[in-house]
């Protein structure tokens, strides 16, 4: 199985599913030079959001810890620990801040 991310040009293959550890993320370099963070939860569901932490500007969200609060999956930024909803991109600690989200899917390896 591979992990695919939807970008402007269509579905981009980013890595084999086995490269993802449940509960952790990886960073992906997108064709336009921007970065996404892809995560796998314990149930094996993938999520993808922008990799840039809006509070510090650093591209580090992929290195945060994944968790679940009120049934919703989130990642906590490794820098100042704000949490971001992995499905909506909304910051759970500051409702005025959000990061972008990407559609992501797993597909059989070609």
């Amino acid at each position: 199985m591979t992990v695919e991310l939807e970008v402007a040009g269509g579905w981009l293959t980013v890595c084999p599913l086995s490269a993802l550890v449940p509960g952790r993320g990886v960073a992906v370099l997108l064709p336009d030079g921007s970065q996404a963070a892809v995560f796998l939860d314990r149930a094996g569901r993938p999520y993808a959001i922008g990799n840039q932490d809006p509070f510090t500007g650093a591209h580090v969200l992929s290195r945060g810890l994944v968790g679940r609060a009120q049934g919703r999956p989130f990642v906590a930024s490794p820098l100042l620990k704000q949490r971001f909803d992995l499905e909506s991109g909304r910051c759970l600690d500051d409702e005025e801040v959000a990061v972008r989200t990407y559609r992501v899917r797993t597909a059989p390896a070609p």
Partner: protein, 843 residues
């Protein structure tokens, strides 16, 4: 055709903090829908946080300071006219004329015109270079003018004067403060407090004149400020002058309109904040309250705003006075005063703790019956949050225990839980403990009660009152404390987070992903107990890897631009020239910034994730191992050179430091651990500020525990004396394992020791006299740790699978992260923050 009855009109004059609070109070009560509201504001910007004005100089923008929520005026149909002050009030015609010429009729008029700074009538006070310190516009003007000057003076050594002085110093000016009274902050602190404050402020490089008046502002040939002559006959040079000599209520409009004013100024109001004309209210600093006082603080102003809003709606609320408690951080010095700080009540008694060395002065005023009446805290105002709500009651412990510093006597057993339900926790918004504890989270507290949104001095106590901090569980996922989880993991021999969460987590967390709070805590517990559980000691093995915080996950310290620092272990700070050269070569070859740290080692900053394995390959080859500067583990054991080299040394402190560091390296704990060994009582290694510190005596070693540098410094307590090498190591083994077993998550040994029931005596009973029969077990756990220690970086480098995660991008393993860039500074590099912009603006 019928014409609808026009809505009654409210005109508010002044849009400061109190004016905005009044509008919010109306909005909360639905009165904005039933009234037509016009606000006349003199300043060019809507209400902002004047209390935190000085934070503009530490990076907050005027927008950050705004107190007016976006869209608030539109949402409530309020007309806000900026830059258009009221010039005339006609109480007979019930109209207000603004500077623009507009005439606004009112049914109800609210005066919230605030204060204006008092400028003493000295010659030269209007010269270019003279300023007041009241509005954002004032600050912008001072900032601009300061660029052309190298020195400045503040007239007035009160709260605001000292803030202004700090701001001038921050702008790079040599700064002096001239205070007419014989001490700084005469209104808030007493003589002893003023003396402590003076020492601290002078030590920061400011010049202070007390008991001296300003006679004249001197001007140069171009007419601008060049100095001041003082009442002691001296003349000082200064490039600018800021007047901060108090404020006067702005009551001119009211006077001209024929409203009653107090003898010393301030619009006279009754307990419902009505002036002598019942259709006119006055609130905040322009009003003289029914107790005859003009309050220059925001909390009473807010309460007056609420009172006037309630009265408008025909509800009963009275404002009859407020306390003058204040807490602030001046130039980095904590200052607080509350209640009857000057001990004016008859028969009142003082309890004073004063430590001139550290600039700490604490005084409590108590009645003969033991009722706490007030106090002054300078240099350490941590207790303010607890003491102020206790004012008016008899504290549950003796007053001297409330002022003694931690470690200098019996630990203070008083926590926020001992406060009565009726204790006021947030005095800005008058919120009781009961209202706070009805909420579950800080966000809820702020939303439902507004507590914590004023001056912020109550936030610490609120944090302690909320359930998460009350020891009811580690986080939402576990109903157990860290110590309880440790016991569960140890006795059930659980080495899998999944098993722990699914078997012992809260109902709703089972089967889920946990959270960022419990995952690293459980990861740490498993790592500390690994040999006993039969688990792999390698923290990145299998499921363990998903638990580690970023630092542990990449075995390096994450820095602000996403790069990492690399810290090789230098046990005891002893290093050979060859190894020094290797560190230098590695840093040079990878372009890293190097710094010698307080822990006596060399940090290498600026490594990208994908460089870490190559950097460590070189270091491991040269005989270095992981310094565990990441994660919660033993950092360093610092040492002096001891008896080998030093004329005064009485033991070999270097050897002991190396032995201890190697023994406890890699030990995962609730918090990072630091240690030091000094070769004599001169204490060059600063062992008493460490979690465990050792000081040599002529006959052995003295062991100190529970010390702390950092944000809340604490001197360590002497646990045992004149120990042999073996006795010392055995005691440290027991101490550390007992701490790891019973401490809370992220709890340092210092706070743990203070929380421990029975304190130091109990600890001594357990680890020296084995009162709980635990010592064999504690020693065995440590022996396991020592026997199973392996260097994490050597292990990582030997396994290609593990190395695979050290890439910047999963889909481009060779590509470096283009946002991790550096620019030169002092012949080395620093992060290029310009590339870290969010939405176009760098944060």
């Amino acid at each position: 055709m019928t014409v609808p009855e026009p809505l009654p009109a409210i005109v508010l004059i002044g849009h400061g903090m109190v004016g905005q609070r009044y509008l919010e109070a109306l909005a909360e009560r639905g009165a904005t829908a039933t009234h037509r509201i016009t606000v006349l504001c003199e300043e060019p910007r809507p209400a902002y946080d004047r209390v935190h004005l000085t934070s503009y100089f530490s990076g907050r923008t005027p927008e950050d300071l705004s107190l007016t929520p976006a869209g608030f005026m539109e949402r409530h149909g309020i007309e806000l006219r900026l830059d258009d002050p009221a010039e005339h009030v006609d109480t007979a015609a019930r109209t207000v004329t603004a500077r623009s010429g507009r005439v606004v009729p009112y049914d109800v008029l609210v005066l919230a015109t605030g204060s204006h700074p008092f400028v003493p009538p000295v010659p030269g006070r209007d010269a270019p270079g003279c300023f007041v310190y009241r509005t954002i516009e004032d600050l912008l003007a001072i900032e601009e003018y300061a660029k052309t000057r190298s020195s400045g003076a503040v007239v007035g050594g009160g709260l605001l004067g000292l803030e202004a002085a700090g701001a001038l110093q921050g702008l790079g000016l040599a700064t002096r403060v001239v205070e007419f009274a014989p001490r700084l902050m005469p209104a808030q602190v007493d003589e002893g407090g003023g003396a402590a404050l003076l020492r601290t402020i002078e030590s920061m490089g400011l010049t202070v004149h007390t008991g001296v008046g300003t006679q004249e502002v001197l001007t140069g040939q171009d007419g601008s400020v060049c100095g001041m002559s003082l009442s002691d006959g001296s003349t000082v040079e200064t490039g600018l002058v800021v007047f901060s000599a108090g404020v006067r209520p702005r009551d001119q409009l009211a006077r001209a309109a024929g409203l009653a004013v107090g003898e010393r100024g301030g619009i006279t109001v009754d307990a419902r904040c009505r002036t002598s004309d019942p259709r006119v209210y006055a609130i905040g600093e322009c009003a003289q309250a029914v107790d005859g006082r003009v309050y220059g603080l925001v909390a009473p102003g807010y309460e007056m705003a609420e009172t006037a809003a309630e009265d408008l709606l025909g509800r009963e609320k009275e404002f009859t006075g407020a306390d003058l408690s204040t807490k602030l951080k001046l130039l980095g010095v904590d200052v607080a005063s509350f209640g009857d700080a000057h001990g004016t009540a008859e028969g009142s008694l003082d309890v004073v703790w004063s430590d001139s060395r550290s600039g700490v002065y604490k005084k409590l005023v108590v009645s003969p019956e033991g009722v706490l009446l007030g106090g002054v805290l300078v240099g350490d105002a941590d207790a303010y949050g607890l003491l102020r709500p206790l004012t008016g009651s008899v504290p549950p412990v003796a007053p001297e225990r409330l002022v003694l510093p931690a470690g200098a006597g019996a630990p203070v057993a008083l926590g926020p839980s001992s406060l009565p339900d009726t204790a006021v926790i947030c005095s800005c918004h008058n919120v009781t403990k009961k209202a706070v504890t009805a909420c579950a989270t800080l966000a809820e507290v702020k939303k439902c009660t507004k507590a914590g949104t004023g001056c912020g001095s109550c936030l610490k106590v609120i944090g302690q009152l909320l359930p998460a901090a009350a020891g009811q569980g580690l986080c939402g996922c576990f109903p157990y404390t860290r110590a309880e989880l440790y016991e569960i993991v140890r006795t059930r021999r659980l080495a899998s987070y999944r098993d722990i969460l699914d078997g012992h987590g809260s109902e709703e967390a089972r089967g889920g992903d946990g959270c960022e709070v419990c995952k690293p805590a459980v990861g740490s517990i498993i790592a500390s107990l690994a040999p006993a559980l039969g688990a792999s000691g390698y923290v990145l093995d299998g499921e363990q890897a998903a638990l580690q915080d970023t630092n542990d996950h990449f075995l390096a310290n994450l820095q602000r631009n996403g790069s990492y620092s690399v810290v090789p272990r230098v046990p005891g700070g002893e290093i050979t020239p060859d190894k020094l050269i290797v560190i230098g070569e590695v840093a040079r070859d990878f372009g890293l910034y190097t710094k010698i740290t307080g822990g006596q080692r060399i940090d290498l900053f600026g490594a990208r994730v994908d460089q870490l394995p190559r950097i460590w390959a070189r270091l491991v080859d040269a005989g270095f191992e992981s310094g565990h500067a990441y994660g919660k583990a033993l950092r360093t054991v610092k040492s002096c050179v001891g008896q080998t080299w030093c004329r005064y040394g009485v033991q070999d402190s270097v050897r002991m430091a190396i032995d201890l560091e190697l023994r406890y390296r890699g030990l995962r704990a609730p918090h990072k651990l630091k240690s030091a060994v000094s070769g004599c009582a001169r204490e060059c290694a600063e062992a008493q500020s460490k979690d465990f510190g050792v000081i040599a005596t002529a006959s052995g070693w003295n062991l100190y525990v529970g010390g702390n540098g950092g944000a809340v410094p604490r001197h360590a307590d002497l646990l045992a004396q004149d120990l042999s090498d073996a006795e010392l190591v055995r005691l440290v083994d027991r101490f550390l394992m007992f701490y790891i077993r019973t401490a809370d998550r992220l709890e340092r040994t210092s706070t743990w020791l203070e929380r421990l029931e029975g304190g130091l005596d109990h600890l001594r009973d357990v680890v020296v006299h084995d009162s709980l029969g635990l010592c064999d077990e504690l020693e065995a756990l440590m022996a396991d740790h020592v026997a199973h220690y392996r260097d994490e970086w050597a292990e990582t480098l030997s396994d290609p699978e593990r190395l695979r995660r050290f890439v910047s991008f999963v889909n481009a393993p060779g590509a470096p992260d283009p946002t991790v860039r550096f620019v030169p500074e002092r012949d080395q590099v620093k992060p290029d923050l310009a590339v870290l912009t969010v939405g176009g603006a760098a944060r």
